[in-house]
């Protein structure tokens, strides 16, 4: 049975990917909030924020990308929740298949859907004047960090997807994540914030990830930030995966 893990997961992933490609509006709505934020900050507030020699669109794009992922994974929770509610989740679980493939299909689809949304946002940023001299390896490093962050948040999204009792509940967990970049180095330098806020901003996961991506784009050394960023991503991933599997076992027991 587990011999079929890959082919079963592939078949199920094909299904969930069709859900994405047949409702491209979910990709658009994933990208629309971050794009609107980007327009607001660059053309309204940006002039008042001192980011030194860096152009403001370059400065804030990393935070916007994390915001895109946070809003994208709420659709992952939504798609999984719909499967559970409609009964198709149980149909799959009653079939002689690699049962965890149902979850992996949603996880892979989440990665693909978020990647499309991220590309879309980067394209808009380029139109707004974002420029980077980063080479292929730096871009790959950025993509790697973003994918790892998406994977971590996707497993987090699996938890409400499996256990929420309403559609609203399944999507609502993403809101705090979407706003987390505001209290970080994503939009304004943390040194302008008052003591406790500054402490929080400097020690929450978004700041280290934002700083890493910003430095990669600016061809600056990433320093210790990249290790802090990776530690946060892997830490969230491990905890979320354990909790998601616990929720999954409760569901199928």
């Amino acid at each position: 049975m587990t011999a079929y893990f890959f082919s079963d997961t592939a078949a199920l992933t094909g299904r969930t990917l069709r859900h994405v490609t047949r409702s491209m509006d979910t990709i658009i709505t994933t990208a629309i909030t971050p794009v609107a934020m980007m327009l607001m900050f660059v053309y309204v507030f940006g002039g008042a924020i001192d980011t030194g020699s860096v152009s403001y669109v370059n400065y804030m794009l990393p935070g916007i990308l994390l915001m895109t992922i946070a809003s994208g994974i709420s659709y992952t929770a939504f798609r999984l929740f719909t499967d559970v509610k409609s009964g198709i989740f149980e149909r799959f679980q009653s079939m002689p298949i690699a049962r965890s493939g149902v979850l992996w299909a949603h996880v892979i689809t989440s990665l693909v859907a978020n990647l499309i949304a991220l590309v879309l946002v980067v394209c808009v940023a380029v139109l707004m004047g974002f420029r980077s001299g980063a080479g292929v390896s730096a871009w790959l490093a950025v993509a790697g960090v973003l994918l790892l962050f998406t994977l971590a948040l996707t497993w987090l999204a699996v938890i409400p997807g499996l256990s929420a009792s309403s559609v609203e509940g399944a999507g609502a967990f993403a809101y705090p994540l979407i706003f987390l970049p505001f209290v970080s180095s994503a939009f304004v330098p943390t040194k302008t914030m008052p003591g406790p806020v500054r402490w929080f901003a400097e020690h929450q996961p978004v700041t280290s990830i934002v700083n890493t991506i910003r430095n990669l784009f600016a061809q600056q050394p990433v320093g210790d930030d990249i290790w802090t960023a990776l530690a946060w991503c892997v830490g969230i991933l491990v905890v979320a995966y354990i909790l998601a599997m616990a929720a999954y076992r409760r569901k199928i027991a």
Binding site: S7, A11, G14, R15, S23, G87, E90, Q93, S94
Partner: protein
């Protein structure tokens, strides 16, 4: 009332119990299903029908008792049980966003049968869904959706099929479509466990009927046996008025189907 001894039942359920907190849903359920027969589990809402099916489909663990399907124990050999069964859900668990053909091909892929697309086409034809095959399921009528659901459960030729309330919420015409689809199943020697709250559905389809009430099987027998439990039939002369269902079917042009069904029932009963 008790059945003749059965060598190896397709489904064997003994002393099955399940509670949710203090609420006892099943309080010792026993029944056997003969291979190749249609067995109806009849009961009102909340009688425990769906709970029984979920346990037999390895989706839920029983608190006590034993159940086996096709000779495999549901608690200790769940993988073998899943190889032996096909579940059609109460709420027609088909994918709304995919087309009918894609739904069938997906199940065929997951059941690892050869040439999934050919199987999908064949089933679309057999269940008169040919023209709708390329359309998204969200555009289907309730009856079409349920027929697709049943067609999906045929893929992989599982020896045992569970039909959990196959006609709940359907209009009379669609109900007859689904009944025809269920009768189609038995032509291939499939064992069917049917749950329903409609008496006439059990009467139409089942070889054996068990009535589940408050978590226990209170009656189990063939329709003829069940009829013997009641006082002998009296002969009365009553003018035969068409029922509203007959009028409805005649007006919308489903009359032929209705007649055909009437004959089959006559043959059966």
């Amino acid at each position: 009332m008790t059945a003749q001894p059965i060598a190896s039942p397709a489904i064997h359920v003994q002393g099955l119990r399940k509670s949710y907190g203090k609420h006892e849903v099943l309080r010792s359920v026993d029944f056997d299903v003969v291979p190749g027969s249609i067995f109806a589990l009849l009961g009102s809402n909340g009688a425990g029908k769906t709970t029984t099916v979920r346990i037999l489909a390895t989706l839920l663990k029983a608190d006590a008792g034993a159940a086996s399907v096709n000779g495999f124990d549901v608690a200790t050999q769940p993988a073998n049980v899943r190889e032996s069964i096909s579940l059609t859900g109460q709420f027609a668990a088909v994918d709304e966003i995919l087309s009918g053909r894609e739904n069938l091909a997906l199940v065929a892929r997951l059941r690892h049968v050869e040439d999934p697309d050919a199987i999908a086409d064949d089933l679309l034809r057999r269940f008169s869904l040919n023209e709708a095959g390329a359309r998204r399921v969200s555009t289907y009528s309730g009856g079409m959706r349920r027929r697709l659901d049943i067609a999906m459960s045929l893929i992989g030729s599982a020896p045992v099929i569970y039909l959990d309330e196959p006609t709940a919420g359907l209009d009379p015409e669609a109900r007859i479509e689904v009944w025809d689809a269920v009768k189609e199943l038995t032509r291939y020697g499939t064992t069917v466990l049917l749950t329903t709250q409609y008496l006439d559905e059990a009467e139409q389809l089942a070889d054996r009927i068990a009535i589940l009430h408050q978590g226990r099987i209170i009656v189990n027998g063939t329709l003829a046996e069940l009829k013997q439990l009641f006082p002998p039939a009296k002969v009365e002369y009553v003018e035969k008025q068409p029922s509203l269902e007959e009028i409805f079917l005649a007006v919308i042009g489903g009359g032929d189907k209705c007649d055909a069904d009437g004959t089959t029932t006559g043959g059966r009963g």
